[in-house]
Structure formats: C-alpha cells, structure tokens
Amino acid sequence: MKNDPAIHVENLTKMFGDFTAVNSISFQVGKGEVFGFLGANGAGKTTAMKMLIGISKPTSGQARVAGFNVRTHAEEVKNSIGYMSQKFSLYNDLTIKENIVFFGGIYGLPKSVLKEKTQALVDELGLHDHADALVRSLPLGWKQKVAFSVALLHNPKIIFLDEPTGGVDPITRRQFWEMIYREASKGVTIFVTTHYMDEAEYCDRVSIMVEGNIEALDTPNKLKERYQVGSMNEVFLKLARNIE
C-alpha cells in the first residue's frame, strides 16, 4: 500500500455508443507529483478525468485513485480527492466565508476546524476586507485562488484541476502555480489539465492525449529532446500534426 502510486490507470476505456472517447489508456502518477494532462479539446482528457473522480463509469479497464478502485470504492475515492473545474467552482451569491463553510461542511469538517481553516485561508490570501463580500464581486483571479483553497479544505491526497487558469491574467497564473507548487511540496499529488503550453513546462511530467490515446508521456525536457524542439508548444503541435 505504501509504495502504491497516487493514481494507477490500466487500459481505461470509455465508449459512448460506437465512439471511443478514451481508448485503453494506461499511466501512473506518483505521490507528490505535478502531473500535466494535456490534449486538444475533444481529445478525451475531460472524459478520462471524470472517470478518475468518480462521476463517469469506465466502459472497461481499471483505475485506482489514492489506492482505491474507482469502480468499487467510489466513496473512498471521493473522500481522498479535491476537484476544481474549469467552470467556476464557487457560489457567486455566497460570501467567501459562506463558501468555505459550505464546502467544508459537505466534507464533514467540524465547526472548530472550519473556523480555523477559514481564518488561515483568509490570512494566506490576504482577503481580510473581503471575507464577507459576495464572491460575485471579486476579480476572477481571486475567485480562482479561493476556489483552489476551498478544494484543499479537507486535506485531499490528490487534487484534480480541470483547466484551473482559464481566462486568468499571466501574473495571477504565476501566483496560482506557486500555490500548486506549495501544495505539491507538502506531498499533495496534483493532476492538472491545461491548454496553456507554458504551464505544461511547470509540470513534473506531462501526458499528451490525441484522439482518445496517450501519444506521449514524459518530463517536459525529455519530450522536447525526443521531438527535437525548443518548447512544449512545438511538441504539442508536432504530435497533433502527426495524427492528421
């Protein structure tokens, strides 16, 4: 159990009728790793991720998340993971504090812990003046940071981020990645999808999905070496072109 990878995927497949959205993919993610899950829109990365977080059932294949089988132990999986989606993950008509209390509450955190956590989070993000402001009134970058912190409230072992920095300015993206690194250094496994190729460079390893298959999986440096290009962007383009 101890040396189990955080995520272990074997021949995971998802079919919608005749269409194969995810075609027998296999990979492992180690504990504390920042794993970039890349792919063009429609490549199947969201579908694959949905199977890992337990809201979509695999057609065939196996996946173990935090040591639990996603088919048979969905509840345990849910308690061990955090999730932040590309659509915004907080309630706009609730204040920051209320969002924290709500999301902490559905993970069963006791009141005293919630209070502590709220204070810590507000301190960390420097939101003292805004803790009682409706989330609606905050700039997008702040919302994203709060959403990330909220997804971490219950101390998940793995956190899934589905295009977390969509539409955010470069400075905020930078800050966001600093938060990601901080969590990774604490041992939290990060599974992140993105289509910003500069962000792919920040990952420990990346996988690139094309049409339901994982076409490449390695560290950014090795991938650049293998395809003899200078940036992840070019790696991505090369792979996508090969298929066409």
């Binding site: 509840e75 659509k87 915004f88 309630y91 008509d93 509450g105 069963g108």
Partner: protein, 368 residues
C-alpha cells in the same frame, strides 16, 4: 445530517439573496388571490344601461325606476330610435339596451302581453349573459307583482337551492385554483430551476465529486421549497379565510396532509424536469408549457372538465392539479373526509412514486 443542514442553509442563502425569486415566491400568491378575489368575478355591479322607450307610459316608467333602483345597473343614456343602439355600443361604455315596444301599457292591459327587448353587447359574452339574466329577473319580478291580484290556475315555480356556495361566490372557486397553481409553480418550477442552475454553473459537478450522495444533493435542494410551499399554502388559505370568508368545512388535518401530498407531487415533477433539462431556461420553458398551462386550463380550475371534449377529459387525468382541486374543494366546501376522497389521494401518491421512479432512472443514465 450535519452535512445536510449545511446544504439547506446554503439553499436558503440562494433564495433570500435573489430578489426576483422572493417576489415570485411571496408577492405572487398574494397579488393573485386578491386579483382573482376582487377583480375577476362573474357578478355584475353598476353596469351602464341605455333605455329606448318607444311607449313612454306609466308602466315603462315603473320598470325603468325598478331597474335604476337596483345596484346592478345604472341608466346612463336614453335613446330615441334603434339606429342609436349600435352607435352607443361602439362607444363601448353601455353594455346593454332595454327596448320597450310602442303602446307597451295598452298591449299589456288589453292583449295581456307586451313587447320588450334586451339588446346586449356580446363582445364580452359573460357580461352579456349575466346582464340579460339580471334584466330578465327584474322584469319577471315586475310581472309577478302586477299579477298578484289574479290567481293563475297552474304554475310551476322552481325553487333553486345552491349547496356549498349559496351565494355563488366566484372566489370560492378561485382560492382552491390559485392555491393549486401557486403550489405547482413554487414547487415544480422553482426546484427545477434551482437544480439546473447548479448544472449550468458547474457546481453540480463539484457536489457530485464530493462525498455527498446524489440523492442527498437532490433532497437538500428540494427541502427548502417544501417549506416555502407550505408557507404559501398557509398564506393563501388564510387570505381566503379572513378576507373572502372562505369556509373550511372539513378537517384541517386532512387539508394539511393533502396539500403536502400535492406539494410532493409537484416537487417530484420539478426534479423530473431538472433531470431532462440542461439549462435554467429549458427548465423554465418546460415547466411553464408542460405544467403551468395544463394546470390552469385542464385541471378544472377555470373550465369545467365535464364540458371538455373527451380527448381533453382523458388528458386531464394525468394532471396532478385536477385531483388536488377535487380534494381541496371537497375538504373546504363540502367538508368530506378521506372516506370519500381516498381515490384522489391514491392517484396523487401513485403519481409521486412514478415521477420519482422515472427521475432516478434518468439520473442514473446521466451518470453513466
């Protein structure tokens, strides 16, 4: 349980921070009851009437006087010839003209019968109908008065008794109807919108990834609306009771029970709609077209089901509101109990089970 409480609290924040929702929830029932109670009525009062008296004798004067003395009519014009009738209708104010034939009193005395004509503006058929009935009955009364001295050998005098609503107050029909419509609206439309809102905003995914079970999510979303719908039912009944003197002949307990049953049937419909709609807009349109119109038109609230074409009568059976209106009228006006109303109760129960069953099935398919 604690998780559930937190969920419900959050749901109340949503409701109380959305002014529009609040207005729909609490403003509409009151406005509708008062509107229907006071404004929408088949009773007539102070209708403008014109007289075309070609006879101008003592008898016609007496009749005109009787009419003017009643609270139903006020005589606003005296016409000189038939040509003026259309002109005056076209102006729109006068709704009816009473025409006396020439030599009215002479005919009455010598021939024993005299000519009188009621001409009504039937662009509003209900008003025209009521006006002609009221005028006829005034003439009838006059006739009875002058015949007092004479004994008529054979006579059929029907004595009409109106049970359960002796004064034929239309508000007695509207209170149960409005209550039905409002409960359907609050329960079905509001829940379907609030569930699809989570889908649209992407927060539904977050909730499904959390340890909350799907049924806890749905129950948490629905619970506040049960509460609000019950408050609405109480407000509507209280208004009916105190403002319009609506009687409650039957048991309060049964009334509460059946109302809650209907609220549940509407809620389960709302859940069903939310499982088939992706956006709030679809949910709203589906609810309005699929629920509100049938609830208003086919439930027997405004139009009696017995006079509908057979096809519509059959369709009316699948509308929960139809059964609830029978139940609530039975309890409020007739004071009957479960012994009489068990069939309607069973139908509602069955509908709830059906809607929930289908919702669960649809929901599972979505999760695949």
């Amino acid at each position: 349980m604690k998780r559930f409480r937190g969920f419900v609290i959050k749901e109340f924040y949503h409701i109380f921070r959305d002014k529009r929702t609040l207005v729909i929830l609490f403003g509409m029932p009151i406005v509708q009851i008062l509107l229907f109670g006071y404004a929408v009525t088949n009773e007539i009062n102070n209708v403008d009437l014109a007289i075309l008296d070609k006879s101008k004798d003592a008898e016609t004067q007496k009749i005109i006087h009787d009419i003017a003395a009643s609270k139903y009519f006020k005589i606003s014009d005296i016409l000189e010839d038939e040509g003026q009738i259309e002109a005056i209708f076209k102006k729109g104010k006068v709704k009816a003209v009473l025409v006396f034939a020439p030599n009215f009193d002479k005919d009455l005395i010598t021939n024993g019968s005299a000519g009188v004509q009621i001409v009504t503006d039937a662009t509003e058929p209900n008003v025209a109908n009521s006006v002609s009935n009221y005028l006829s009955s005034i003439l009838q009364k006059y006739q009875t008065d002058i015949n007092k001295a004479i004994t008529i050998p054979y006579q059929i005098v029907p004595e009409t008794k109106m049970y359960y609503n002796p004064e034929l107050k239309s508000v007695f029909m509207f209170v149960p109807g409005i209550m039905t419509v409002i409960l359907m609206l609050v329960s079905a439309i509001m829940t379907s919108i609030s569930i699809t809102r989570e889908k649209e905003m992407g927060t539904m995914e977050i909730l499904l990834v959390s340890p909350l079970k799907p049924h806890q999510v749905i129950l948490g979303k629905v619970f506040p609306y049960v509460f609000l719908a019950i408050i609405n039912a109480i407000v509507i009944l209280a208004l009916g009771f105190f403002v319009f003197k609506m009687p409650v002949q039957g048991s309060y307990f049964l009334l509460a029970l059946e109302s809650i049953l209907f609220i549940f049937s509407a809620l389960s419909l709302g859940i069903l709609i939310s499982t088939i709609s992706e956006t709030q807009q679809t949910a709203m349109m589906t609810s309005l077209m699929g629920l509100m119109l049938p609830t208003i038109l086919l439930s027997g609230f405004i139009f009696p089901i017995s006079s509908m074409p057979v096809a519509l009568q059959v369709i009316s059976n699948i509308i929960p509101a139809k059964w609830f209106i029978i139940l609530i009228k039975g309890i409020l006006l007739k004071g009957v109990g479960i012994v009489v109303l068990w069939k309607e109760t069973v139908v509602l129960l069955f509908m709830i089970l059906l809607f929930i069953g289908v919702s669960i099935k649809k929901y599972k398919i979505r999760l695949e």
